[in-house]
């Protein structure tokens, strides 16, 4: 036997249920579908806390097996600046009109 779920309805919601029943809609089926839809939505939804969201994103976008470690140490300001200069130089070179 399944579990019984009681739902308290407002007058307006009760009127809606009556109308649906008159049109042949099985309200309990409607509730089951709505519950399953919401559950599926919750499963797919990203978490809201910054750390949980980040973990979720790392699972969603895993590094490819061929991934190698980044060459630049982001804590080394001079190396970062040189890397950025190099990148921007290459980019402006590409954009030059012949």
């Amino acid at each position: 036997m399944g579990r019984l779920l009681n739902i308290r309805l407002s007058k307006q919601d009760a009127a809606v249920v009556d109308q649906l029943r008159r049109k042949g809609v099985v309200v309990s089926d409607l509730v089951r579908v709505a519950l399953r839809d919401e559950y599926a939505k919750q499963q797919d939804a990203p978490p809201s806390s910054p750390a949980d969201l980040l973990e979720w994103l790392h699972r969603k976008y895993p590094a490819p097996a061929s991934q190698t470690t980044r060459r630049i140490d982001a804590t080394n300001r001079k190396k970062v600046a040189a890397f950025l200069r190099d990148r921007l130089k290459k980019r402006s070179g590409k954009r030059k009109v012949a």
């Binding site: 990203p46 809201s48 806390s49 910054p50 750390a51 969201l53 980040l54 973990e55 994103l57 790392h58 969603k60 976008y61 895993p62 590094a63 490819p64 991934q67 190698t68 470690t69 980044r70 630049i72 140490d73 982001a74 804590t75 300001r77 970062v80 600046a81 890397f83 950025l84 990148r87």
Partner: protein
């Protein structure tokens, strides 16, 4: 408000970064949820996170409202202070992103989350006070 520096943002998005584990551990330990990223820091991180999946992580993390974009420049019109700060430290050849970060963190309720030791040992606010750091820098 906690302002993230480039090194932290990169470590959080790239698990191959040597500071990735520390960054995630520190993120989990934070009570403060008001995390901000400045546009110059975002620009630097964008270049450093070259791989497409790393950029997807960065974009979706920001889009998920986990972190807000700091817009102190627009709110307070403090670009003049950034120029002043850059001039003050010109012998050390500072980055624009660092200058902008320091000025954005001028508010006493703000701190900077960074792994760059210059924020602890060299940079100061314009009034000469030390930079408030979210976590102490390990050398």
């Amino acid at each position: 408000m906690i302002l993230l520096d480039t090194s932290v943002l990169v470590a959080l998005c790239d698990r191959s970064d040597h500071l990735a584990d520390r960054a995630m551990h520190q993120l989990r330990s934070l009570k403060e949820r008001n995390l901000r990223v400045t546009l110059p820091v975002l620009t630097e991180a964008w270049h450093l996170l070259e791989q497409p999946w790393l950029r997807k992580i960065l974009i979706e993390w920001l889009r998920g409202r986990a972190v807000q974009i700091a817009s102190a420049m627009e709110e307070r019109q403090v670009i003049a202070e950034v120029w002043q700060w850059l001039e003050q430290y010109q012998e050390h050849d500072p980055d624009f992103a660092d200058a902008h970060l320091v000025i954005c963190a001028a508010d006493k309720r703000s701190s900077i989350w960074t792994y760059d030791s210059e924020f602890a040992h060299l940079w100061r606010h314009l009034d000469g006070t030390r930079i408030r750091l979210t976590f102490p820098i390990r050398s």
